[in-house]
């Protein structure tokens, strides 16, 4: 049996490295009909902001080769409803939860983190993922994750709000010139780990009506089609860690994982945990299937510990 346990930092160990991806699994109840969400290393919830949000108009999706474009606009119930309903439910089924938080100002992120910290089911939280791919209202809507200073500001404020034993993950956007600069700014500001990658900005035109297909015009590209981008981003940041350009922290890999083989690719590039997003839309039990396949693959390749496979492709 391969030892699948992973260290997320701050003394947090998970029984296995498989997670859902934020926004691709709602807040647990829906997928619990297909598999036990407590079987996952952690359950990552939909990014939640301070107040309820309707999200954007429709259409909100377009299919693309081996993937899709989405423009949801962070629809959600707000942190109040999240800590009153969703988090206690996840706790009641024994899930380890990695809530994803978002904001349109660094103060909003801090406020969301504080509400989370003070909530009754906070003991089910194994870490907090900070979705910094949101428009910064204070800077003409420029996405935080595209600006090292703004990213660091958010991460620093969130870190202050959370207890020491809770690791904070900064979720990075691949739509930047040099992802290692943003990664480094986040880690210096107090991030205990990085999640890579969020969606890539894309657009589809409906050629029947000759207009943008999405109600929100542009959207986030995801799915197997973007996997090479995720592998590249993870590789570059891990390489920078090896070179001492930033401290070594765990990377949660996400982007186009559909099979155990795909997961191993991200792991070999440097990911210590894996999230499965869009593949869930194709196969609702994909996260547990990928875990099983990854386990078989590691065992077939002679690995005794999952952690031995992390970043193994570097220096080969």
């Amino acid at each position: 049996m391969v030892d699948l346990s992973v260290d997320l930092g701050r003394g947090r160990r998970l029984p296995n490295p498989l997670m859902t991806a934020s926004g691709c699994a709602a807040n647990g109840k829906e997928l619990h009909r297909f598999f036990d969400v407590a079987d996952l290393g952690a359950f990552v919830t939909k990014s939640v902001m301070a107040d309820p949000r309707s999200g954007r108009g429709t259409p909100r999706m377009a299919e693309t080769p081996s993937g899709m474009l989405n423009s949801i606009g962070l629809q959600g119930p707000g942190i109040g409803a999240f800590v009153e309903e969703d988090l206690p439910w996840l706790k009641s089924v024994g899930a380890r939860v990695l809530p994803s938080i978002a904001g349109s100002s660094s103060r909003e992120y801090a406020q969301v983190a504080a509400t989370l910290r003070d909530s009754s089911a906070f003991d089910s939280v194994v870490g907090v993922e900070v979705n910094i791919s949101c428009p910064n209202v204070a800077n003409r809507g420029l996405v935080f994750a595209c600006d090292p200073m703004a990213s660091a500001d958010v991460i620093g404020l969130v870190r202050e709000q959370l207890p020491r034993e809770i690791p904070v993950f900064a979720k990075l956007s691949p739509d930047v010139t040099d992802i290692t600069t943003i990664a480094s700014a986040c880690v210096e500001a107090g991030a205990d780990g990085l999640t890579m990658i969020n969606t890539l900005l894309g657009m589809v035109i409906d050629t029947d009506r000759l207009r943008p297909q999405l109600g929100g015009v542009t959207g986030g590209l995801s799915g197997p089609g973007i996997r090479p981008v995720a592998v590249r981003a993870i590789w570059q940041v891990r390489q920078a860690m090896f070179e001492g350009r930033l401290p070594t922290v765990p990377i949660i890999g996400v982007g186009g994982v559909r099979t155990g083989r795909d997961a191993l690719e991200l792991v070999a590039a440097g990911a210590s945990a894996i999230q499965v997003g869009t593949a869930v839309f194709n196969d609702p039990s994909a996260p547990v299937r990928v875990l099983r396949e990854l386990c078989e693959l590691l065992s077939a390749k002679g690995f005794e510990r999952f952690s031995d496979a992390v970043a193994v492709a570097h220096g080969r």
Partner: protein, 296 residues
């Protein structure tokens, strides 16, 4: 049965195609899917994967359940009626007997059934009639008088006229071009039928424009409309938030709700038809969490 399948009100199964035949413009497909057949109710749908495990077409395609036979010769079967309009539906209609398709279902909420034996009118546009025969059977079992209105652009796009005669107490057919039945829209004969039968409920399934007009007619003639909508869905199981539409809740407030879990059947008068425009649905300004001026 495992603990999981007991907990589940939905299943995922690899279904064998046991029959597939052309019916007018559509393909009528029978799948062996005992789990879905056992759980399904009229108005629910199934989501089919396209093109096998390595397919680059990742998103499932949704289809209303036309009929289920929980204990057929081959085990429980589920029937669907497919109009081939794009890559996914073309792949599905090309499946031959003994091919398999990965099916998730049953999904969504079923048509609510009246508690008293009131008269009902069932209105189907194109393949939208597919789930209505099964519904008609259940309604008549409850003692309801059932009439059906089937409409389509042309005769080949009508589905189930013969079956409608078997399943109901009266059938009206309309086509846009007059190639079958009376020329015009399903909403044309509807007022007379509601008034004559003193119908309490009008059930509808078909294009959004049609559902809006039957909602208006039903309202004007004192009936409740229950409509099954069709929105673009990436997951079908409630996790992606792509399939939303503006619907008024029991508290009187409009929310962008997921049509795959809170629908596809909605009370027509709860749908914010004013927000729909040529394939787009806006977020009404008064919706919960709508963007504020100067905000996001």
């Amino acid at each position: 049965m495992s603990e999981r399948s007991l907990r589940a009100r939905v299943t995922q199964e690899v279904a064998e195609v046991i029959a597939t035949r052309r019916v007018g413009a559509y393909q009528h497909i029978t799948l062996v899917a005992p789990g879905v057949a056992e759980l399904a109710r009229p108005g629910q749908f199934v989501a089919l994967a396209v093109g096998g495990e390595t397919s680059g077409t990742l998103l499932r395609r949704s289809f209303s359940i036309h009929k289920v036979s929980p204990s057929g010769t081959y085990g429980g079967t589920v029937e669907i009626v497919v109009s081939a309009v794009g890559v996914g539906t073309r792949w599905i209609v090309e499946r031959a007997p003994h091919d398999t398709i990965d099916v998730v279902g049953p999904l969504g909420k079923a048509f609510p059934l009246p508690t008293a034996p009131v008269a009902c009118v069932l209105v189907g546009g194109g393949y939208g009639s597919a789930p209505l025969f099964w519904l008609a059977g259940e309604l008549r079992e409850r003692g309801c008088h059932v009439e059906m209105v089937l409409g389509a652009a042309s005769e080949d796009k009508l589905f189930g006229v013969v079956e409608a005669r078997r399943s109901s107490d009266g059938v009206t057919v309309t086509t846009d071009d007059g190639s079958a039945g009376q020329r015009g829209w399903v909403s044309d004969p509807l007022p007379e039928i509601i008034d004559r039968t003193k119908a309490g409920v009008v059930y509808g399934c078909g294009p959004m424009g049609m559902l809006e007009s039957i909602t208006r007619v039903a309202e004007a003639h004192g009936a409740v409309a229950q409509v099954a909508v069709e929105e673009s869905m990436a997951c079908g199981v409630g996790v992606c938030m792509t399939c939303v539409m503006p619907v008024v809740g029991s508290d009187g407030r409009t929310r962008m709700v997921r049509s795959c879990v809170e629908g596809p059947v909605f009370r027509g008068d709860r749908v914010r038809w004013d927000a729909f425009d040529g394939g787009h649905a806006r977020v009404p300004d008064d919706a919960v969490g709508a963007p504020k001026v100067g905000g996001h």
